[in-house]
Amino acid sequence: MNVPFDIIILLFVVMCAIAAITVRDLLSAVMILGAYSFFMCLMWAQLGAVDVAFTEASVSAGIGTILLVAAVLKTTRRTKD
């Protein structure tokens, strides 16, 4: 396995996680969460867990993001923190 590639993905993951909880617009936060899930899924594919990566790609990055987007559109994008 390629160690630097790994570390780059991990850094992206952490950055996305921090961004997702700090951004002050819910729709962007949800989108960043989708990106987070996607990087996570790359990470797992890198670790050889193809089944888990596939599931994560279809579930968290796919349906999960869609559900969150639908919920945000149904409610509001405004947030205080």
């Binding site: 819910l26 987070y36 579930v59 923190d81």
Partner: protein, 126 residues
């Protein structure tokens, strides 16, 4: 330093878990809490997937040849540990189910109070 290099995956998972946990407790917005929950659960999944990893040329947990005996016998070290993967499939399912229920409850509350902020909802209830 050796410690960090040997286990950096575990350290990253702890950091992610802390981020998620913090968001779950400290954030005021319900959707933010849900996002934190998702990050928390994903961090745990990363931990399990890291357990399953084997260094030294282990490949995906899918058999490429079927001989059980002879010179091509299946070497355990050749394949990744499938059990944590299985557990994590279940955990991912649980996380999406929790997400669905949480969003449903959040939408219910928005319908009633027209806000997603915890303090405003508390004010409205009292």
């Amino acid at each position: 330093m050796d410690f960090i290099i040997a286990k950096y995956n575990y350290l990253i998972y702890v950091i992610l878990m802390m981020i998620g946990f913090y968001a779950m407790i400290a954030k005021n917005n319900l959707i933010k809490k849900i996002i934190g929950m998702n990050i928390f659960q994903t961090a745990i999944i990363l931990f399990f997937v890291s357990i399953a990893y084997k260094k030294g040329g282990a490949t995906l947990p899918i058999l490429t040849h079927a001989d059980a005996h002879g010179e091509h016998a299946i070497q355990v070290a050749q394949y990744l540990n499938p059990l944590p993967h299985v557990l994590m499939l279940t955990a991912i399912v649980v996380s999406i189910a929790t997400l669905g229920v949480a969003l449903a409850i959040a939408i219910m509350m928005y319908r009633k109070y027209h806000t997603l902020e915890e303090d405003e909802i508390l004010k409205a209830i009292k």
